[in-house]
């Protein structure tokens, strides 16, 4: 306690006074920027595992029951042919890893940690030690999750939603400790998220620089603030749910087992009560990132700053009352389903406000098509597609037909890959110069963006078609159904596109590591952006700024303002008096 508050206000020394060893600098660092980098590396390395699992799933769907290349070394007894139980494990863990250990660590963990103190003008988080703890607890959760691959019976195989009683009785999926470790890992991750969320909220409320009013905060900070509140209130519900599931599996309780008097539907309620806010936890930071990057490369103020902030608040409130749309076929009262349809349609309104504001920002601008901008534009356009297909399935008559088909799979990937992952790529390219002090390579950036964008669409758009054609999600072999055989060529096409999409990430890996060590040294403000992080050195030293903190005089998006000779006006620029001279 005492250590944390001492760093927060008391004596603040200029940077460079702390000579720390390797362990304190790179492993158990309390510096928010180092913790951000740790979360980034955690997320990116887990993304490789999650991506490979996705390719295994795709191979099985395109060429069912044939040996998966490269898997013969691991699955020696079948020569690389995936068994149904292993297929279940692959898609379960693909989703679990991508959601909990890729998108959340990168967007909320890495960019939350990096952006919040730097963009509100704080020297560090409110509780630096708690911050470090939250990373290492998340790392333990990651290790527990990966350990599940090596236990007898394999990893959890009940889907990332782990519907009971399938997940509650070990005999049903044949996995014992895999599913237990899944529960324990998410429980531990819930604790880590609580620590992180409390830290973010406290920092944003209490630690803003002089003049940084709430409505002068950059929209990415607004989005992370709201994300943190959702994390704080949603994750405990999952935490209690997985605890009950674990008790059902290990202690013999029957919360979710009808045989002992339990109620399987209770799991769905608890899971989706967490699960729907979770969707917005995944997308809100990406929305903030796009709102940050669009004005910079349009050289225009964001269209409707207040509308952007309030629509995010509205999304956060509404996200609590829409969760039933995941359960339309669970046998709920049709009147209740109707209510959830209506709330879900209403949540499209703030999302549409945001979309139109992005379009308003782009309108008439002379856009600079840099690599971060391209990724941000991909976010906006793909989010529109994913959002629109969401409106289809909000209405029960459509949803009951497409429930649990590839249409749903297409929708979630348009939102979570097309939305969150493009947002994450945009953020990585945009803040890389500040985070690591070096520029990324533009040619490699284009070589990464264009294949990703094209093959993303070629992979996921046809899933709408086969979904409406009736292909259900989570099936091992679509060829065993006669009515699906005529569209098997789509599965082959999707898998080839997915393989190309995977290969398209190689330039990113090369670019990331090459730029990390050999990239051009980044100037202070390579994008001529207004927000505070660009006033700190690249990379910012410990405690971010020298002896004095920046003072904020204006909003974050005053581009092409007639007040300035340049087309940008930093938040730290003092207002101009009528006499024409700057104060100070």
């Amino acid at each position: 306690m005492s250590a944390t508050s001492a760093t927060a206000h008391a004596h603040v020394e200029p940077a460079g006074h702390h000579e720390l060893g390797f362990v304190r600098t790179y492993m158990f660092s309390t510096d928010h920027k180092m913790i951000a980098r740790q979360f980034l590396f955690l997320g990116l390395s887990m993304m490789i595992i999650g991506g490979l699992l996705a390719l295994v799933v795709r191979w099985e769907l395109a060429w069912p029951e044939t040996p998966v290349p490269g898997l013969g070394m691991i699955l020696t007894e079948t020569g690389g042919i995936l068994e149904p139980s292993q297929y279940n494990m692959a898609f379960t863990m693909h989703a679990t890893i991508m959601i909990f250990f890729v998108i959340m660590p990168i967007l909320a963990g890495a960019f939350g940690n990096f952006c919040i103190p730097l963009m509100i003008g704080a020297r560090d988080m409110a509780f630096p030690f708690l911050n470090m703890l939250s990373f290492w607890v998340a790392a333990v959760a990651g290790v527990l999750m990966l350990a599940g691959f090596f236990v007898p019976g394999g990893h959890a195989a009940a889907g990332w939603t782990s519907y009971a009683p399938l997940s509650a009785v070990p005999e049903y999926t044949g996995t014992n400790w895999g599913q237990n470790l899944w529960c324990i890992s998410l429980f531990v991750l819930g604790i880590s998220s609580m620590m992180g969320a409390i830290n973010y909220i406290t920092t944003i409320i209490n630690m803003r620089a002089p003049g940084m009013k709430l409505f002068r905060m950059p929209l990415v900070v607004w989005s992370l603030f709201i994300t943190a509140i959702l994390l704080l209130l949603a994750l405990p519900v999952l935490t209690s749910g997985v605890a009950m599931l674990l008790f059902d599996r290990t202690l013999g309780t029957s919360w979710f087992k009808p045989s002992g008097g339990g109620e399987p539907l209770l799991w769905q309620h608890l899971f989706w009560y967490f699960g729907h806010p979770e969707v917005y936890i995944l997308i809100l930071p990406a929305m903030g990132i796009a709102s940050e990057i669009l004005p910079v490369f349009c050289r225009k103020p964001i269209f409707g700053y207040h509308a952007m902030a309030f629509s995010m608040i509205a999304i956060a409130f509404l996200s609590w009352v829409v969760y039933g749309h995941h359960m339309f076929v669970s046998g709920m009262n049709p009147a209740l389903g109707m209510a959830f349809t209506v709330t879900t349609m209403i949540i499209a309104v703030p999302s549409a406000i945001k979309t139109f504001n992005w379009l308003g920002t782009l309108w008439g601008a002379r856009i600079q098509f840099t690599v971060p901008m391209l990724n941000a534009l991909a976010f906006v356009s793909m989010f529109v597609i994913g959002g629109l297909s969401g409106i289809f399935m909000a209405s029960t008559p459509v949803d009951i037909y497409i429930q649990d088909t590839y249409f749903i799979v297409a929708h979630i990937h348009y939102v979570v890959f097309g939305g969150s992952i493009f947002g994450a790529f945009a953020a990585i390219y945009y803040w890389f110069p500040k985070m690591f002090g070096r520029m990324t390579n533009t040619v490699l950036g284009h070589l990464h963006f264009w294949p990703t964008f094209v093959f993303f669409n070629l992979t996921f758009f046809p899933m709408h078609i086969i979904g409406v054609g009736g292909q259900m999600r989570r099936i091992y072999n679509p060829m065993q159904y006669e009515f699906l055989q005529h569209q098997q060529h789509w599965n082959v096409f999707i898998t080839m596109s997915a393989l190309a999409l995977g290969l398209g990430q190689i330039p990113f890996v090369i670019n990331f590591f090459w730029s990390l060590f050999a990239g051009k040294k980044a100037p202070l403000n390579p994008w001529n952006a207004n927000t505070l992080e660009w006033t700190a050195a690249s990379p910012p030293p410990h405690l971010n700024w020298g002896p004095t903190l920046p003072t904020v005089y204006r909003g974050p998006y005053e581009y092409s303002s007639p007040e300035s000779r340049d087309d940008w006006l930093p938040q730290t620029a003092p207002p101009v008096t009528a006499a024409g001279a700057r104060r100070h």
């Binding site: 409390i198 002089p210 405990p236 605890a243 309780t253 050289r299 909003g555």
Partner: protein, 227 residues
Amino acid sequence: MTQGLLEAPPKRGPVTDRPNGPVGPPPPPTGGGDGPDREPSPRRPVLDNIQLAVLFLIGGEVMFFAALIAALFVTRLGQPLWPPPHQPRLPVGVTGVNTLVLLASSVMMARAVGALARGEESRLVKRLAATAGLGALFLLVQGYEWARLIGFGLTVSAGTYGATFYTLIGAHAAHVFGALVWLSVTLVLASHGRFAHGRTAPVKACAMFWHFVVGLWPILYVAVYLL
């Protein structure tokens, strides 16, 4: 010279060829979230960082227990009889007295914070110790009753009655234990005079969490034991 939204900004990249100096008075604030033009002042937070953090921690904990209580009600609504027949009854009387013990600890905690506000350090330490003692007594009685119930055959796997009881009450007991550890640390720090010079926030934060844990108990007592 204010730019319309439909006009393109004049030039890409930093513009250097504009006339030096500003053009007329500053324009009214546009979409940038700008407020009235005044000199920014340093922030004076209403609540100290740690108190604010505990407030939000309580928010998260409320959701955690709300999920558990909701699960309890869903479970018992699925049962024809509650409590189920042939199951030991919960010790309502002893636990009722124990509830008073826990509530007394909260009163004692409030008095400790009062002593802190008046700067009476020795009273602060004594009252914190009394709070911790009452909390520990509560946990001991709970543990004794648990042991008796298990002896009577109410186990966690004996049916939904035992499962709901042990999960909810166990979750609360874990929180009392955690709060007790925190309180003990605060007590040790207080006895070393660490809160002597107006640094009251850590004690107040600890008190907030203690009051939360105590305030949660009557709700659980009614939901689990009485209803």
